[in-house]
Amino acid sequence: MAAARNNMRPAQKNTLLKVVILGDGGVGKSCLMNRFVSNQFDEHSFHTIGVEFLNKDVDIDGETYTLQIWDTAGQERFKTLRTPFYRGSDICMLTYAVDDRPSFRNLEMWKNEFLYYADVRENAQFPFIVVGNKSDVPAEEREVSHLEMSTWCNENSITSCIEASAKNANNVQEAFRMAVQHWLRLETRADRNEQPINDTVDLTKRHSENRMSCCIGAADD
């Protein structure tokens, strides 16, 4: 529609969504992101240093959403480096590798770490999505079954979960789309229930009106 506008953002803005990917070191968080954003896969990727950041637009139901994806370092020593980035997230992707049971067991820890540092309101339903990466591994190497994953998700009231493979590009797009759809569902529900906004500024509160900003809902009055 506004193709002629060079180097300018279209006046009609996309919805910006901040996505944080969490999970043990080595489950393939960066690979998932790179597969999703640039459709590339590097067999010998490095440990992420602190955080990585990429942008990607997705179209869902005719709307364009810009995902701002923060890929975090899973190693324990990076904990204090990654946690500051949790705040203001719209979506949290919890990842594990299907051939790595400890990484699956750690989902609980990751979820709690996220909830603590993201400062999400206790009762708020937060759009978590669980992604079991490395679904390409041979059956004999698999340590976590699909059933276990869905059981865990049910126990933790997480409705979105999917197995994917960054290596063979299976379900990667779907995982991210699923996440956005999940967010949308919660958002529309929240919109219906949302109280009139008070006139103070609460940086930690997620304001649906401020989805446009890359930063945490910084202001609204």
Partner: protein, 1092 residues
């Protein structure tokens, strides 16, 4: 105290007895004749053990009676000395008298005159070889028969003897003279031997001498030593403390000097050396205590100066006991060190003594007994030295005396350190030095280690004192943090002082790195103090929620996370500054210090600090926006104060970051990403606050209507945000991005560094984009506020175009004014953005107007007027040329134009659109036709040549085609026939070859967009219902105007086509004209052609 010390001297409290005298006959000290050595030692130790004050006093009185030396101060007089001694020894009058009588009765002391013949120079040659064979004869004139000779030094004029002699003084010192004679030795040689020397004779004088010698030898037949010269020294010119002098040698009848002789002369006695030393130590102690008592000299002040009486007593005792300087110094060392324990003396005194002692001590020329005494005394002295080191902080560094004292102490320690301690000697017993950490094998004599411990202990004592004094009543985390900060600051200033005043001193004097030793101690202490505290606090940091800057006023400063985080950061900076000191103080070791990785303790705090930085930034931004008067900062810029303030606020974040100076590369990189994100958040916050600030401005109401005026404030708000946005990128570059990427490249790998770089660039781009979004949002608000007026202008223009209307003028003025304001106030980029939004808005508005008015079946003139009004309005835009870039608006305008056409024109528009469309077709299923056309003047000649591949229309798979030629627009060529070819049956490749000539009017010829339409049909058998095959267009403009015959012109091949659908705008517009018969009819036919 002093009195007690004196009574201690009265060793056994024994009865007075005469002092045994051990006489020595030999010239050398250590040889005794007559008495066995064992017996001597037994007696000595007996005496030493039983010596009493009275005996010592009697000895002193005796010495007063027999003062020696030219330097005796006769002004003092014996009486004064007696009275001084009596006071010092605290002797009652009657006892004094008794003892004095005893002393007077004793015969005069047997003093010895010690003479060391050292060397001679410039002696006159006496031998024929131009040299001499000198030796020295010495004697006292009172006893000139008793002569002493040195050895003979052959063939030299500058002999060195270094021989000692002790001459008993028998007569009165004042009358006697020491005589020194230098002789040339002449051995008994025969004349023949002497003649043999002729060849060695040097010069004429030498020859003459030899001849004379030979003559003498020949006449007397015996040898004769020849006097070179003599020196006479009256004994009363020799001071009691002795002297070393060059004496010139004279000879009777000779005026010239015969040479010079160097001798050392001193007095001595035949007293037993050990006894003499012991006596001297006692006397020294008694006199010093007495003097200290009398003069009330301050601690650490006495530096070796006695009263003249005291001085004379001591000098006499030294002289009359024959103590040599080393022995005296050792006595002093021992006595002074003892007294020092109770009454501190100046360290300069000790250091000067060591100056004298160090050589004898190092060269092992001190007796074993003395050596032991020396070390015992040293052991007494050292605690006080280390005490000075430990309590160094109690001294004012500004006083010269302090520095002097420390210097002397260090000198002493350095000397002691240079000495080999006694075997099995514990110089630093742990009972006296409980703080010593050195526990080597056996006894501890390690001076440097002890010094290090003393320094550390001093620091430790001081630190404990500081900790005690800085205890706080409340034990909140914040007060604990502030306490630590204060302590680190104090420690740092202590180190600073150490560096400034003492370090050089320690290094130069004793080669000890004082500041470094302190640093090593402090860094460990600080680490153990700070680390657990910080780690604990970091774990429990409370989250920070920004709820507007007014929320602060009711916060409790002691618990609020802001104060706590700030204190924690201050502590970080304090520790950082402290840790940095290591680089200067001990660069080699700083890697080994625990404090080196202090930042790890604070790891958990960084996120909190970043939050605080944002928190404060938001607070200040909010305030800045509130205080912004919304006027240009100055004439050259288009932004107002809050933009500048916001940049200052960002700058403060940068300063924070630079202060943090996070050493860990990975952390550094990650935190930069966070800061950029945070700054972006601040920008958005600013944008929101700014837009809230100007919201409601510009809404005006006059008698006509309520409307919105674009105000300078609005423009400033937009410019402000843009100004802030522009600085985002340079700001982030300033955070040290490039450096950290380079470091990652080195530490990890270039690939990883590149990824990090991409991330940072993405975050920046994203931030910039987001803020740009905000600007657009604001611009949209402005445009949305202007939209109603613009919409009204368009509608009124459409209704009333070409009529003079105040309303339109007013609206035009409104649009014009607002755009002028925007153009003037906004920068170009934002103005262009605004225009784009305006166009966007306009095209949407127009679409609405068009739609609603189509629904109302407004006549074409309405839309035409609307279009004119639009163009009028676009004309008032400042750069309307750019409007062409806006496809939306262009298309809307196109639609508007179509709707503005009268139906006949609209129908032609359909044809034009179709022609445009058909001419693009390359391969048609309906077939193609070939024609030739030309104009000659106003005459149009058309030759329909043939058709090919016509679509089979009949059941036999063929067709019976004919072509009709139309001139369009139809209503402009109504008087013309529509020529038609013959029908060619049953062929899909008919050859028509028919020519038509049409005479047009000049007006018709000039119609710009006139078209030729070739309509190809299939003739129905009955002729009623001809079937439509397809059609082709040729516009007048592509037809040549020529006089050449038609046959010479190239054939024109036209693809046949059919109208496809109803999507053309012109067709759609026709469909809206429901009430229009012409439109209706055309559409009916159009649809027929589509459907066939």
């Amino acid at each position: 105290m002093l009195r007690a010390a004196v009574s201690e001297c009265n060793l056994n409290g024994g009865v007075p007895r005469t002092m045994p005298r051990v006489r020595r006959r030999s010239l050398t000290r250590n040889q005794f004749r007559g008495i066995k050595k064992e017996e001597l030692q037994r007696r000595t130790s007996m005496y030493l053990a039983s010596m009493t004050i009275d005996e010592l006093y009697a000895e002193i009185l005796y010495e007063i009676l027999h003062n020696v030396g030219c330097d005796v101060n006769y002004e003092i007089g014996q009486t004064a000395l007696f009275s001084y001694a009596q006071d010092a020894f605290k002797i009652a009058n009657d006892k004094h008298r008794r003892l004095l009588e005893m002393a007077e009765k004793k015969e005069a002391p047997e003093l010895l005159l010690n003479v060391e013949v050292i060397e001679a120079k410039d002696l006159k040659p006496k031998d024929s070889n131009g040299l001499s064979d000198p030796f020295v004869t010495l004697f006292l004139t009172s006893n000139n028969s008793h002569r002493y000779n040195t050895s003979v030094k052959t063939m030299t004029l500058s002999p060195v003897w270094e021989e000692h002699f002790a001459l008993p003084i028998t007569s009165s010192i004042n009358d006697d003279t020491l005589c020194l004679e230098v002789w040339d030795f002449d051995p008994a040689e025969s004349v023949k031997e002497k003649l043999g020397k002729i060849f060695e004779v040097k010069g004429v004088k030498g020859m003459r001498k030899l001849v004379k010698e030979i003559a003498v030898t020949a006449t007397t037949g015996q040898h004769e030593n020849e006097l070179i010269g003599r020196a006479k020294i009256p004994l009363n010119t020799i001071p009691a403390s002795g002297m070393t002098m060059w004496y010139s040698l004279d000879k009777k009848n000779k005026v010239n000097r015969q040479g010079v002789l160097k001798v050392r002369i001193s007095y001595s006695s035949e007293k037993n050396n050990q006894v003499a030393e012991q006596e001297h130590r006692h006397v020294l102690r008694i006199i010093l205590l007495h003097e200290l008592e009398m003069s009330k000299v301050a601690p650490y002040w006495w530096c070796g100066t006695f009263s003249p009486q005291g001085e004379q007593l001591l000098t006499q005792h030294i002289a009359q006991s024959g103590l040599n300087p080393t022995e005296v110094a050792l006595c002093q060392w021992s006595v002074f060190a003892g007294i020092h324990q109770n009454h501190q003396l100046s360290f300069t005194l000790f250091s000067n003594l060591l100056d004298k002692l160090i050589k004898p001590l190092q060269s092992n020329s001190v007796s074993e007994e003395d050596l032991k005494l020396f070390w015992e005394a040293t052991k007494k002295l050292l605690p006080s030295c280390f005490s000075i080191i430990r309590k160094i902080r109690k001294k004012s560094t500004s006083e010269k005396a302090t520095m002097k004292q420390v210097t002397e102490v260090l000198k002493i320690l350095n000397y002691i350190n240079s000495l080999e301690p006694l075997p099995n000697f514990d110089l630093f017993p742990s009972t006296i030095y409980p703080w010593i950490t050195y526990h080597g094998e056996g006894n501890n004599c390690n001076v440097p280690a002890t010094l290090n411990d003393a320094v550390a202990q001093g620091a430790s004592d001081w630190l404990n004192h500081i900790l005690e004094n800085n205890k706080r009543p409340d034990e909140t985390e914040i007060s604990r943090l502030q306490n630590l900060i204060q302590i680190i600051q104090l420690v740092r200033s202590d180190l600073q002082k150490a560096i400034e005043f003492y370090d050089k001193l320690f290094q130069e004097t004793i080669n000890f790195q004082y500041a470094k030793a302190l640093y090593v101690f402090y860094q460990a202490k600080i680490s153990t103090m700070v680390e657990p505290e910080v780690r604990e606090i970091c774990k429990g940091l409370k989250k920070l929620n920004y709820t507007g800057y007014n929320s602060l006023t009711n916060g409790d400063a002691n618990t609020d996370p802001l104060t706590e985080g700030t204190s924690l950061f201050e502590l970080y900076l304090a520790v950082q500054r402290f840790a940095t000191l290591a680089l200067g103080l001990c660069p080699a070791d700083c890697d080994t210090f625990h404090i080196k990785n202090f930042h790890e303790w604070f790891h958990g705090g960084v996120a909190q600090w970043l939050d605080i930085a944002v928190y404060k930034a938001l607070q200040r931004i909010e305030k800045a926006v509130e205080l912004d008067k919304l006027v240009h900062v100055d004439n050259t810029v288009k932004y107002s104060s809050s933009a500048v303030d916001t940049l200052t606020i960002f700058y403060q974040v940068k300063v924070f970051w630079q202060q943090l100076n996070w050493p860990d590369v990975e952390g550094y990189y990650t935190f930069i990403a966070k800061i950029i994100d945070d700054i972006c958040r601040c920008c958005v916050f600013y944008a929101d606050k700014m837009s809230a600030r100007v919201d409601g401005m510009g809404d005006v109401q006059d008698i006509y209507e309520k409307k919105f005026e674009v105000t300078n404030e609005w423009c400033l708000a937009i410019n402000n945000i843009d100004y802030v946005r522009e600085t985002l990128e340079p700001f982030t570059r300033d955070l040290g991005m490039e450096e950290v990427i380079q470091k990652i490249s080195k530490l990890k790998s270039p690939v990883e560094a590149q990824r990090c770089q991409h991330t940072l660039e993405n975050v920046i781009a994203n931030a910039i984009d987001t803020v740009r979004n905000k600007i657009i949002e604001l611009l949209e608000i402005v445009v949305a506020k202007m939209a109603p007026a613009m919409k009204r202008l368009l509608i009124e223009g459409a209704e009333l175009c070409n009529q003079d209307s105040n309303s339109i003028d007013r609206l035009m003025m409104y649009v014009d004014n607002n755009l002028s304001t925007l153009h003037r106030e906004l920068n170009e980029e934002n103005f262009n953005r605004t225009l784009e939004i305006v166009w966007d808005m306009l095209s949407k508005t127009l679409c609405e107007i068009i739609q609603s008015n189509l629904d109302k079946r407004r006549p074409p003139s309405f839309f035409d007027n609307l279009r004119k009004t639009l163009n009028l309005m676009l004309g008032s835009f400042k750069n309307p040329a750019d409007c062409d870039n806006c496809n939306d608006l262009k298309r809307t305008e196109q639609i508007l134009r179509i709707h503005g056409l009268e139906t006949a024109d609209l129908i032609h528009q359909v044809h034009l659109d179709m022609a445009d469309h058909f001419n693009k077709i390359k391969d048609s299923p309906y077939g193609e036709i070939s024609v030739r056309c030309k104009f000659e003047g106003n005459t149009l000649a058309v030759e329909v040549m043939n058709a090919r591949n016509l679509m089979a229309m009949d059941s036999n798979g063929s067709c019976d085609a004919f072509i009709r030629v139309h001139l369009l627009p139809e209503h402009k060529f109504s008087e013309h026939d529509k020529p038609k070819t013959k029908t060619h049956n049953k062929t899909q490749f008919p050859l028509f070859d028919e020519k038509f000539v049409l005479k047009l009017s000049p007006e018709q010829r000039q119609i710009e967009d006139a078209l030729l339409l070739f309509s190809v049909k299939d003739k129905d058998l009955l002729g009623y219902n001809n079937q439509y095959i397809g059609e082709a267009f040729l516009d007048f403009k592509s037809i040549e105007d020529t006089t050449l015959p038609l046959t010479s012109l190239p054939q024109i091949h036209l693809q046949l086509s059919r109208p496809k659908d109803l999507t053309l705008d012109s067709v759609k517009a026709l469909e809206y004209r429901q009430g229009d018969k012409q439109a209706k009819e055309f559409l009916k036919k159009f649809k027929q052609r589509m459907g066939s």
